[in-house]
Amino acid sequence: MNREEIILAIKDIITTIAPDEDVGSLKNDVRLREQIELDSMDFLDIVMELRKRYGVQVPEEDYKELATLDGCVAYLSPKLQGKVLKVGV
């Protein structure tokens, strides 16, 4: 997956977890928690969906790497290499 696809993948997961949040206007360099209502339980769900959809494992110690969309791209790029974007699962 490339950068744009990873961002799409994360936004799609957020839509699954929090259908009432608007992900369209999310900025890439601002913490997700400052833009939409996401708590630590929701971050666990992002991680669980990454595992379910792409087989990617993220240990608790690394949750902080997913704070922004840019952070997600940097952290997940190597893990999602060669994987296919799944949207609307």
């Binding site: 009432d20 708590d39 339980m41 608790e60």
Partner: protein, 468 residues
Amino acid sequence: MAQNRYDAIVIGAGMSGLAAGIRLAQFGKRVVVLEKHALWGGLNSFYKRGGRRYDTGLHALTNFVPKGTKSTPLAKLLRQLRISYDELNLHEQTWSRVCLGDITLRFANQFGLLAEDVAAAFPAEKDAFARLVDEVRTFDAFDAEAPVRSARAEIRRFLRDPLLIEALLVPICWYGSAREDDIDWDQFVILFRSLFLEGFARPAGGIKPFLDLLLARYRAEGGELRTRAGVERILFDAHSAARGVRLEDGTELESDCVLSSAGYPETMALAGRPTTEADVGRLSFVEIVHVLDRTSAALGNDATITFFTTQREFGWRRPETLVDTHTGVICCSDNYATHDPQRDGVLRITSLANYDLWCALDEAPYRAAKVAAESAILDAAAAFAFDPRPHRIASDMFTPRTLRHYTGHIGGTVYGSPHKRRDGRSGVKNLHLIGTDQGLLGIVGSMLSGVSMANRHALMETRANQLS
């Protein structure tokens, strides 16, 4: 995976167990929820008698907030379980009240009513009450490391009038204190928010449709529920870590993660570990349900829930007699907003009871005691609502003996042990507590307890457990 091997075993199909089960099944974990009885729901279950369905305990779903209210326990729970707000089909209360002798404070799903009534009845405490409310709004009640504090002592930092302190404690103790004459401060905060700052609602049709929804979610995700599957004991490996359970029929199920909603002393008994008498709660209840030939409103009572004491003192403790008629909760479950004009009136009254005395009775005296207790309770409660006896279509009653039988709680408790384990720690590796004895209360609270423990112990991965 071997047939009897699970990623997680959940003991008890109550609110916390079902919520934990949904979370685990949702992410592909192989999970089984074990229920001793034929029906699920635990403390919030249902049964049929005389062709009529009764809820076992539901007065109110606390933590009610309007659709779209964010960052509240109800919103967090629905998000975690992926259930939509509309699916709950909640009907709001009219209003409720505390009656402390001749003092009445009303409250509703808009906080303003309580603030007004406090200001009217206790004008000198108006500002102090506002400061207490600010503290309750901002206090971190979920710090599992914080020491246990007395709510009475904390409230006294803000309020001076003992009658106002007493009046606030009546509904809060009634809806969740396992401690006599007090409650832990963090639980006071959680309950104050869920009763007064949030509010009361009832799922349309009572607890059954709500449980149907949970069970459907659980099964749709592939979760397994076994009813009539009582746990005989917890099994251990050579290092004294839990490795599964043995059922009463001899079946052995294995898992490195056992979540128990049985209660702390009850779970320790299953694990063969000692507990002390102080771990067993002293508070038990009797409850009377009357189905009426007309609505509660037609009988002159518009309030949804009335928490009363007959004098200006509360006395939240085990009575020396079978029941204590001086304090109680009256719930008119037909006083939730509904569009059904044909609804029955339903009155429930809950009173404090002495478990040991009820359990010492033989069958004939037990039946006689029920009749006498019912009559005394109805006499006392009539002053705060109405006398349902001339309008009774059907009625039923449960006692501490019934509670012990159906909940398995030692001492017939509803709110469990007075010593809460907020982090869910049982002292046994791989065995974690969920539900009442984790200290989260009400339907929403107990479900969040199941969710948080499932997250922590069966879903979240750390570098250490990824390596293993």
